[in-house]
Subunit: 157 residues, 2 copies
């Protein structure tokens, strides 16, 4: 767990990384979700992770409600399944910047067969803004320091 | 660098994690992008990272084209700026599952002031499919093992 490392942070990205930011965590989630893996031995063989690390990761996922375990079968909960979105976002960046031979994997929508990517989406104008046009503003869970620091429209975390 | 850890992986998500999967990496990117931080001392003070770790992270970012450095001023490149999407995706999951007091930060579109989130998007039917309806299929950069393993429509990485 990275919990103690990021304890100073009142930030949802940091909290997500506390739960899935350790080495191998998101690749275990990837295989659970997109390769339907459920058993310790399958994760271990396919990923080649040291058994003690894999044990620690799976135990943490269960403790944090990301997986359920029953008779040594690990299944993603709804909370865990939504982490698929993080995997797809990581894949999109890697496809653009670190895939010289083209994307190894294309995510497909079972409903229609189309390609699925994660895209920025504005809830007001319905555009897909580039990151340079996106700033941080205080939300309902901001603390006093963040409210002072975050001048709306300026984006100072 | 996690490079050696994930060398077996022909996967864009793993390649992204090789570049930004170390502890603190994505929070440095977050502050560079959304808090406009540029100086070692600012990152160090705000994040409270050990200086040797911060030095390593910034050097790696420069070596991998994620940041440029000039007179000790670190600036995200286009490649680095697009990592903002990963930060926004991590934030979205954390807002839903790990923010009991509500979202600390809301990302805003400078163009219209709307709230920006990362959403799954299907390029064919234009819906925002839930992850349970998304599967992995072989892309142009898939290797022979992946092509054999990935039965289109089944999603086996």
């Amino acid at each position: 767990m990275l919990g103690r490392t990021y304890d100073r942070e009142n930030c949802s990205a940091a909290r997500t990384l506390e739960l899935v930011g350790e080495r191998w965590s998101l690749l275990i989630i990837r295989n659970a979700h997109f390769a339907s893996m459920m058993r310790f031995s399958d994760f271990q063989r396919r990923l080649g992770i040291a058994p003690n690390i894999l044990t620690s990761r799976l135990n943490d996922f269960v403790a944090n409600g990301i997986m359920d375990v029953d008779e040594q079968t690990y299944r993603l909960t709804d909370k865990g399944r939504e982490l698929g979105e993080i995997v797809v976002a990581l894949t999109g960046w890697g496809d653009r910047w670190a895939a010289p031979d083209g994307p190894p994997i294309v995510y497909a929508h079972t409903g229609c067969g189309g390609a699925v990517t994660m895209r920025a989406s504005c809830d007001r104008c319905d555009s897909a803004p580039p990151m340079i046009d996106v700033v941080a503003t205080p939300g309902p869970g901001a603390d006093a320091v963040q409210r002072e620091r975050l001048d709306p429209g300026q984006g100072k975390i």
